[in-house]
């Protein structure tokens, strides 16, 4: 069993495009950097080294990415920022994928007027620009703790997933194995759990990979506006907020975290693309699954 899985994984790795392998490598580097941060740097992310003499230093051997205006080491903050930014993104996407999966499966499998009402609700929610909605809630109630931020981002991001899943679930409802299960008197919840969910999982995974990149950008944007993650915690977004006032003179404090974000998001998007190509082969009828028509900046 184990070896079979390992062999399957090996085959999948071999089928992955070279770009995707690179992307996995980049993600691994950032995850390792985040996890090993205490051993990779001798500073703390909130540590102000000397607020008069060591502030706003350009990159040097001692501080490869320079220091920010509070004399904190930018390299250190990027490493620790990866911890926060990556966990927020991953958790938020888990939340939205789960909610979207359950909601979509239920709507699609149930059908009828319940489905209609559920989909109208999604239509309504999609009419409010997500960024504006988040800005309004966060700006009015800031500062929100990080778990609440994760929930808010997660709960405003599941509508697309739900739509995809619902489409798949509707198609599945009339497939033989589901019909057979129903005929055998299986409990609907069990049918959804055993037969529908596993079959709609792959587009959700693809959408999830793309969404992680999306959420990293979103969190950075909110923190840039000063309403996401708060001091002294370092996320990649808060680093911009610190630096934006003086980004002309202290450009390194803006450029380096930006590169970190772009590299990570690029990796997740590449991975998402590659996963889609990989899973498309045994794709169910319908649209190219996770082809979210909108760019990531939403």
């Amino acid at each position: 069993m184990l070896t079979e899985r390992a062999r399957a994984a090996g085959r999948a790795w071999a089928r992955l495009a070279p770009g995707a392998r690179l992307a996995l490598g980049v993600i691994a580097v950032f995850v390792l950097g985040a996890v090993l941060a205490p051993w990779l740097t001798r500073y703390q992310p909130w540590q102000q080294l000397d607020v008069v003499r060591l502030k706003s230093l350009p990159p040097s051997w001692a501080h490869p990415f320079g220091t920010d205006r509070f004399s904190r080491d930018v390299f250190t903050r990027i490493l620790y920022g990866a911890q926060l930014s990556l966990s927020i993104a991953t958790l938020a996407v888990l939340v939205s994928s789960t909610v979207g999966l359950l909601y979509g499966a239920m709507a699609g499998y149930t059908g009828g007027w319940i489905d209609a009402v559920m989909m109208r609700f999604i239509d309504a929610m999609l009419s409010v620009p997500r960024v504006l909605m988040l800005i309004a809630v966060l700006a009015l109630w800031s500062p929100v703790p990080v778990p609440a931020l994760v929930l808010l981002i997660g709960l405003t991001g599941w509508f697309d997933v739900a739509r995809i899943v619902r489409g798949q679930a509707m198609a599945l409802r009339d497939r033989e194995f589901v019909v057979a299960a129903r005929a055998l008197g299986a409990n609907p919840a069990r049918i959804v759990w055993r037969h529908v969910l596993p079959n709609v999982l792959s587009p959700v995974i693809v959408a999830g990979a793309l969404a992680v990149g999306n959420v990293i950008v979103l969190e950075a944007g909110l923190s840039f506006l000063g309403i996401g993650v708060h001091e002294p915690m370092a996320s990649w977004g808060t680093m911009f907020q610190d630096a934006a006032n003086q980004f002309v003179s202290t450009w390194w404090a803006v450029i380096f975290p930006g590169i970190a974000i772009v590299a990570t998001v690029l990796a997740f998007n590449t991975l998402g693309d590659a996963l889609r190509d990989l899973l498309d082969a045994r794709q169910l009828p319908g649209q190219p699954a996770a082809d979210l028509p909108e760019p990531a900046h939403g």
Binding site: G19, R120, D123, A124, L126, S127, V128, P129, R130, V131, L132, I135, A136, V137, A139, L140, W141, G213, V217, A220, G221, F224, L225, F240, A244, F247, V248, W251, V254, I255, G258, I261, V262, V265, L266, N269, T270, D273, P288, D291, P293, E294, P295, A296, H297, G298
Partner: protein, 321 residues
């Protein structure tokens, strides 16, 4: 068709009402009010006086009904953050956002479709892969970061363009019309370019996938069999069919554009809807925020509707009710 549009419009009104009500409750529940602004010597009594004058001391339900009633009469209230009636503030801010969005949309669609064509015509080559990578890169860049880098690069390191900011009438009133126009264009370049780059990437990716979907179809094979060159096949036959879904993107990209323009407007100090609303939230300018939310929602809904109609027009099979 007409009935469908009417039904959609009816739904839209309900959606707008729900969103507006949610926004109303949300903003009134938040701490602070329009008269808790930064002026330490304005006494509590004076603030209370102003509150009473603008009716912010009445019960929430009364305020809600008043607001709805005024809204029905087209009266959006007085904006305390812009110091003028909300209608006037909107009239100034909305065109700025629309200009930015229009330029971005047109630019992004032209560039995006061209980029996708290039990738498909040269598929399998190194050039096409690089084009794809460039598209993916801009697809992955945070909007505000790209905006900051643009300012850094073109307004400071290589100072050839102003850092955005729709320069006021203040200086334009006294310039020759042509000079003023050119100056406006110069101020538009950086923010518009930023938004174009951000939007192009998504459209190119989408268009490319659509093109690739059409490529294996029979009629393409027929065209190829007739001896047309690959370029002719793609431009004449594939593109025509693959464009339909992309056209609907025009309307569907409204939320993305609105979201993106919030950050772009912030960095470039472009006083459009995004800037005004974010500012108004900070100052608890209730009427302005609510109006902004309404306008944003209506724009998204209209975008969706337009996408629907465009799809119906482009694809006759969908025209049946």
């Amino acid at each position: 068709m007409g009935r469908r549009v009417a039904a959609r419009l009816g739904q839209a009104v309900v959606v707008v009402w729900i969103v507006a009500t949610l926004a109303f409750v949300l903003i009134h529940a938040a701490p602070g009010d329009p008269f808790s602004f930064d002026a330490p010597t304005v006494s509590e009594a004076v603030r209370a006086h102003w509150r009473a004058e603008f009716g912010y001391d009445r019960p929430l339900a009364t305020q809600y009904l008043l607001w709805l009633g005024n809204l029905a009469h087209g009266n959006l209230g007085y904006s305390h953050s812009m110091h003028e009636p909300v209608r006037d503030a909107l009239a100034a801010a909305l065109p700025r956002t629309l200009v930015l969005m229009a330029v971005a949309l047109v630019g992004a669609f032209v560039l995006g479709i061209l980029l996708a064509l290039f990738q498909v015509e040269h598929r399998g080559t190194r050039r096409a892969r690089w084009a794809g990578n460039v598209a993916l890169f801009f697809y992955s860049v945070p909007d505000f970061w790209l905006a900051l880098v643009m300012v850094l690069a073109f307004a400071y390191w290589l100072p050839i363009l102003p850092a955005g900011y729709p320069v006021s009438m203040a200086t334009h009133d006294y310039m020759a019309p042509l000079a003023a126009f050119v100056d406006s264009l110069r101020h538009l370049v950086l923010p518009a370019l930023t938004l174009v780059l951000l939007t192009t990437a998504g459209i190119a990716r989408f268009q490319r996938n659509e093109l690739l979907d059409v490529l294996p179809l029979d009629f393409v094979r027929t065209a190829r069999a007739k001896g047309l060159s690959e370029r002719q096949v793609v431009r004449r036959h594939v593109l025509r069919n693959a464009l339909i879904p992309t056209i609907t993107l025009f309307g569907l990209s409204m939320p993305t554009l609105l979201g993106g323009s919030v950050f772009v407007e912030k960095v470039f100090a472009w006083q459009g809807m995004g800037w005004v609303v974010v500012n108004a939230i900070g100052l608890r300018d209730y009427p302005m925020v609510l109006a902004g939310v309404l306008v944003g929602t209506v724009m998204v809904i209209l975008g969706n509707l337009a996408a629907d109609l465009a799809y119906g027009l482009a694809d006759p099979r969908l025209r049946v009710d």
